[in-house]
């Protein structure tokens, strides 16, 4: 079988997996999973970030601890915990998709929390004082004055976090989720003679996806000159 024939046979499988005969897979699954993960993590990340900034120690300390804890262990470990232990609590086997989604939400929420924190702390201090001196409560100051500015400054970081999430979905491979990398390996086992080409195509696909998003983030960063303060530095690079 020539490589052209391989491409001809498997391109659709590469893009959407067995869909519509079977479950969605391939590139489409990667994108769906990453989008869903980040989207669901947004409210949680916002809440955790605010808790970490809050003046109430009883809220701040546990959340800070949780964030440090999750950031100190590999994402893969989070995935394994969800995969092996959630069923023993709930009694039903968790599907690979739900497992991966849950792990991604936990991981993203923690990283988003740090982005929110950096975004708010990057604003000039006098903005908080200005809001509080008008009698706004801490929450009102956050909601009406600080977050609107911070969220705008955070937009490039959010896009970068999306890139990180796309890359992180590849770990689904390890629990047998048929995302892009897994599907490629399946094709490789069937075809067998073109591993170099197949994995180059895999890399290239991720590259096109992630690099163009990185450019979007870069463009946003220039386009949205911060209204005040600075763009928050991403607190860490993207989880792989």
């Amino acid at each position: 079988m020539s490589f052209a024939e391989v491409v001809d046979t498997y391109w659709l499988y590469f893009l959407v997996g067995q869909y519509p005969q079977g479950p969605l897979g391939g590139l489409a699954l990667t994108i769906v999973l990453a989008s869903l993960g980040l989207l669901l993590a947004l409210p949680a990340g916002l809440a955790l970030g605010l808790a970490r900034l809050s003046p109430w120690a009883a809220l701040r300390w546990p959340v800070t601890g949780l964030i440090h804890l999750v950031r100190a262990v590999p994402l893969l470990l989070v995935i394994f915990w969800v995969y092996f232990f959630l069923p023993s609590i709930t009694g039903v086997k968790t599907s690979q998709f739900s497992t991966m989604l849950m792990a991604l939400v936990v991981y993203d929420a923690v990283y988003l929390a740090e982005i929110v924190r950096a975004g708010v702390q990057g604003l000039p201090r006098v903005q908080v004082e200005g809001a509080r001196s008008l009698g706004l409560s801490w929450l009102a100051a956050m909601r009406l004055v600080l977050l609107p500015q911070a969220l705008r400054n955070m937009l490039p970081s959010l896009v970068s976090q999306f890139v990180a999430t796309i890359k992180a979905t590849s770990l689904g491979y390890i629990i047998g989720l048929s995302e892009l990398a897994f599907v490629t390996t399946q094709v490789n086992t069937q075809v067998f003679i073109y591993p170099t080409q197949l994995y180059l195509i895999l890399g290239l696909s991720y590259f096109v996806l992630c690099f163009s998003l990185t450019r979007v983030a870069f463009w946003l960063e220039r386009r949205l000159a911060p209204v005040s303060g600075q763009h928050p530095k991403l607190p860490a690079r993207q989880p792989a």
């Binding site: 000039p124 006098v126 903005q127 004082e129 200005g130 809001a131 509080r132 001196s133 008008l134 009698g135 706004l136 409560s137 009102a140 009406l144 004055v145 609107p148 500015q149 705008r152 209204v227 005040s228």
Partner: protein
């Protein structure tokens, strides 16, 4: 109206306020001056609890304001504070900056707040800039909007921390003009400033601070013509001949 009773404050091991006892009456305009680092900002920021204190009491309108359990937000909404760096909210227009707090505190409906804010912007000479974002305003204009924003809550006291120090010289006058107008209307004000001409003209009283203490309290005439404390004499001498300092 504002009473300090033996107030002390530390930043770590540095004592920024030392045994401050002072009373400021309703309708009084008090100018606080002194060398850099003497504690002027710290003093004025304790009046609306932007800075906590370590001992003593501060009573405003009969209320011990560093008491636990005080509704600090309600309290602050009755005191205006104007910052050296303006602190306008950059994502809101001049008008929205002025209506945000009154609407939030339910002092007024959106329409009423807007009405009042426009009148206040008119008073500071900026009615035509109502829909401008802060970034489109000059420093002097921003500071005038900040004053209008503080006035929108109809405060009983206005506090100014070096309101003209961040301005280019040609804009200082327009801001001082607005503050003078407020003084004429009988507003209770505490103003930290290095503008001695303004102090001489507007202040009822001058407090001179150094190293966290109030060393001299005097009328402008006495302060500028017959300063008592050696540090105050030195301070004024340095002001007159800036090259020796």
């Amino acid at each position: 109206m504002i009473g300090f009773d033996n107030v002390n404050k530390w930043y770590g091991r540095y004592q920024a306020l030392v045994e401050i006892t002072e009373t400021i009456a309703r309708g009084e305009v008090v100018v606080v001056c002194g060398p850099s680092g003497s504690g002027k900002s710290t003093l004025i920021r304790t009046i609306n609890r932007l800075e906590p204190i370590d001992s003593g009491r501060i009573v405003v309108d009969g209320e011990n304001i560093h008491r636990r359990g005080l509704d600090i937000d309600a309290f602050r909404s009755r005191i205006g504070f104007v910052f050296q760096q303006f602190a306008l909210f950059p994502h809101l227009t001049a008008l929205q900056n002025c209506t945000l707090a009154p609407v939030h505190h339910r002092r007024a409906t959106a329409a009423q707040a807007r009405e009042r804010a426009l009148a206040l912007l008119d008073r500071v000479g900026l009615r035509d800039k109502a829909d401008a974002l802060p970034s489109a305003l000059s420093g002097g204009q921003q500071q005038r909007v900040a004053i209008a924003r503080a006035l929108a809550l109809q405060p009983s006291i206005l506090l100014f921390d070096e309101p003209t120090s961040a301005l280019d010289p040609e804009m200082v006058g327009e801001v001082l003009q607005v503050i003078k107008g407020l003084a004429r209307d009988g507003m209770t004000m505490v103003v930290v400033t290095h503008e001695m001409g303004f102090a001489r003209e507007v202040a009822d009283r001058i407090l001179f601070m150094d190293a966290g203490r109030i060393l001299e309290r005097a009328t402008p005439a006495d302060f500028f013509n017959r300063p008592q404390h050696p540090r105050a004499q030195q301070f004024l001498a340095d002001l007159r001949s800036p090259f020796t300092s």
